[in-house]
């Protein structure tokens, strides 16, 4: 299992309910189900991948996060996972909103567009970056809304989304992101992993 999934699974407590949005062929779901006794559900757009999940005994719905997330009742999961797909949505802001409705906490990972190799590609070559995490050309990429670790950081603060944990991944190396090292992590990391929670609105109110 890839490092990203290991980190995600460590963020999830045993015996919880988890929705994996864009669950792919179910590797992470299967791990959570078998190793952490997690009650898992998946949402996946590719028919082929849904088939693979079914043959593994996983419960997956063929569907699209932008249309099908809202069918789940509020707070019906403890965690919702969105691995490297946020950038492919038409309306990522709304998707995040829906994620935080269906679950108490969301784990979102993003391929970092601020990674130095990506920046260098554009700076030196003058062409759209093609890297390990961003393997497609500009004309066939499913990505519509690329962002950097710093962008996501700023987004959460602007939207009053509570950042429980911010992790940066470079190769197999994992580190915490904070306000002090944000610019450096934004340059040196391939992937950002965030555990977020909706700010309790009523509590917010009493604070102000």
């Amino acid at each position: 299992m890839k490092k990203e999934f290991q980190i995600i699974s460590e963020l999830i407590e045993n015996n919880t309910r988890v929705l994996d949005v864009g669950c792919g062929d179910g590797i992470l779901m299967k791990y959570l189900k078998d190793q952490k006794k997690v009650d898992t559900r998946g949402l996946e757009i590719s028919k082929k991948k849904v088939q693979i999940c079914i043959s593994k005994g996983l419960t997956v719905i063929e569907g699209n996060a932008e249309e099908d997330l809202k069918q789940f009742p509020n707070s019906s999961f403890n965690y919702v996972i969105l691995s490297q797909t946020l950038q492919a949505f038409y309306d990522p802001e709304k998707v995040i909103d829906n994620l935080l409705n269906v679950a108490d906490k969301a784990i979102i990972t993003i391929p970092n567009f601020g990674y130095w190799k990506v920046r260098l590609d554009l700076l030196i070559k003058g062409t759209m970056p093609v890297t390990k995490n961003l393997p497609d050309e500009w004309y066939n990429t499913p990505n519509l809304h690329m962002c950097t670790i710093k962008d996501f950081f700023n987004f959460c603060s602007k939207k009053k989304i509570k950042l429980f944990k911010s992790l940066a991944l470079h190769g197999e190396k994992i580190s915490e992101i904070n306000n002090l090292n944000l610019n450096w992590k934004n340059l040196s990391s391939e992937l950002g992993i965030f555990l977020i929670e909706k700010q309790n609105e009523s509590r917010n109110h009493t604070l102000s």
């Binding site: 028919k47 079914i54 419960t59 997956v60 063929e62 569907g63 069918q71």
Partner: protein
């Protein structure tokens, strides 16, 4: 030996109060089984048939001598693997393959019930078939499965008996029969009733049954089971054993000839009154209404794991209607999976050799066993 003696049946002693208010007692329920029930009795799958199906889901139907209607699905190493599972299928009440139906003799008149037979519902069908669990002393099924009207029975079964099956597979169905579905069924019924031989349902079964009306009903229904693309590819404007148009009302086109054949084959194996009763049961099916407008309530007490399947070219029970069931199940917190299978064979896809569909059902059942 009478051919009908090849039909296995139980006589249900327990009275069944029907939705129409009448109570039936000591009624026959015809069934067939495939595979072996294991010692733990946890490998049984109850198959529900569609409108014109019967209990002979696999192998050769001893009455019609044709392949069972779900031969692609049920058998050794197939999707419902009879090396592993014990498959039970019974004829719905209202049917005409041995279960209590309008063709049975009414003890009060010593003649067939005809339209004196009580109107039955999907709920009644399912409640009647539940007796098979008692008969085989099965506490919990591994799965309930069915397409079209069979899928409706799957939904009703779990709603009525929330924890009597581990998994449930409703295929190409709906939780509430749509106006379009009712309209097509009404077309079929009116066609039967317009046949002079129907005689308000009191026709003689051996001499003069309303075959023409029933055949037209079948022809019309058959069109709704296929897709426009499928029809076009299979038949197009091809002519039937001729080089040019006949300038008559003979079956010039292959599609005409095909439909006529489908109609004529159907009347040999199906009873017109049964067709009326079963289509009525489908039209009355509204699980949403049964649970006061909230379909989620139908499943809120169930631990059953659902898997719902629809087909891209099915316009009779389209993906959107199947997804409504998925949404309701999610809202009730149930465990539900869903996939839409790509097929140009229309609603009939669930009966045909659609490898992707067969593989999906097999994978789901095996992975959960």
């Amino acid at each position: 030996m009478n051919i009908k003696d090849k039909i296995k049946k139980i006589i249900v002693k327990k009275p069944l109060k029907l939705d129409c208010g009448e109570t039936i007692v000591e009624y026959p329920l015809a069934y067939e089984t495939y595979g072996k029930l294991n010692e733990k009795k946890d490998n049984a799958i109850l198959v529900f048939h569609a409108l014109t199906g019967d209990q002979f889901a696999s192998g050769t139907n001893p009455i019609t001598k044709k392949q069972g209607w779900w031969s692609y699905v049920i058998g050794p190493s197939k999707a419902l693997d009879t090396n592993k599972f014990f498959v039970i299928c019974s004829n719905v009440i209202g049917g005409c393959m041995g279960s209590f139906g309008p063709g049975n003799i009414n003890p009060k008149t010593n003649k067939e019930f005809g339209t004196d037979f009580p109107v039955i519902t999907i709920n009644d069908m399912v409640n009647a078939q539940y007796n098979l669990l008692d008969f085989f002393k099965i506490d919990k099924l591994h799965s309930v499965i069915g397409g079209s009207m069979g899928g409706m029975q799957v939904l009703q079964f779990v709603a009525n008996f929330p924890n009597k099956t581990k998994t449930a597979i409703p295929i190409a169905c709906t939780a509430s029969h749509s106006a379009q579905n009712i309209a097509f069924n009404e077309l079929g019924r009116q066609s039967i009733m317009a046949d002079v031989n129907w005689k308000n349902g009191n026709y003689s079964y051996l001499n003069s049954s309303p075959d023409k009306g029933l055949a037209v009903a079948r022809m019309a229904a058959h069109i709704t089971y296929l897709s426009k693309k499928g029809l076009q590819e299979k038949f197009g404007r091809k002519l039937q054993e001729k080089d040019d148009l006949n300038f008559s009302f003979d079956a010039d086109f292959q599609i005409e000839s095909y439909l006529r054949y489908q109609g004529s084959m159907f009347v040999d194996r199906f009873d017109a009154n049964s067709y009326l009763y079963i289509t009525r049961a489908m039209d009355y099916f509204d699980l949403v209404k049964q649970y006061n407008g909230n379909l989620s309530k139908a499943f809120e007490n169930s631990k059953t794991k659902f898997f719902i399947i629809s087909f891209t070219s099915d316009w009779l029970y389209p993906t959107a209607e199947n997804k409504e069931i998925v949404i309701a199940l999610n809202a009730s917190g149930a465990e539900v999976g869903f996939i839409e299978i790509i097929s140009d064979k229309g609603h009939d896809s669930f009966l045909l050799d659609v490898p992707e569909f067969l593989k999906t059902v097999k994978n789901f059942l095996d992975a959960n066993y």
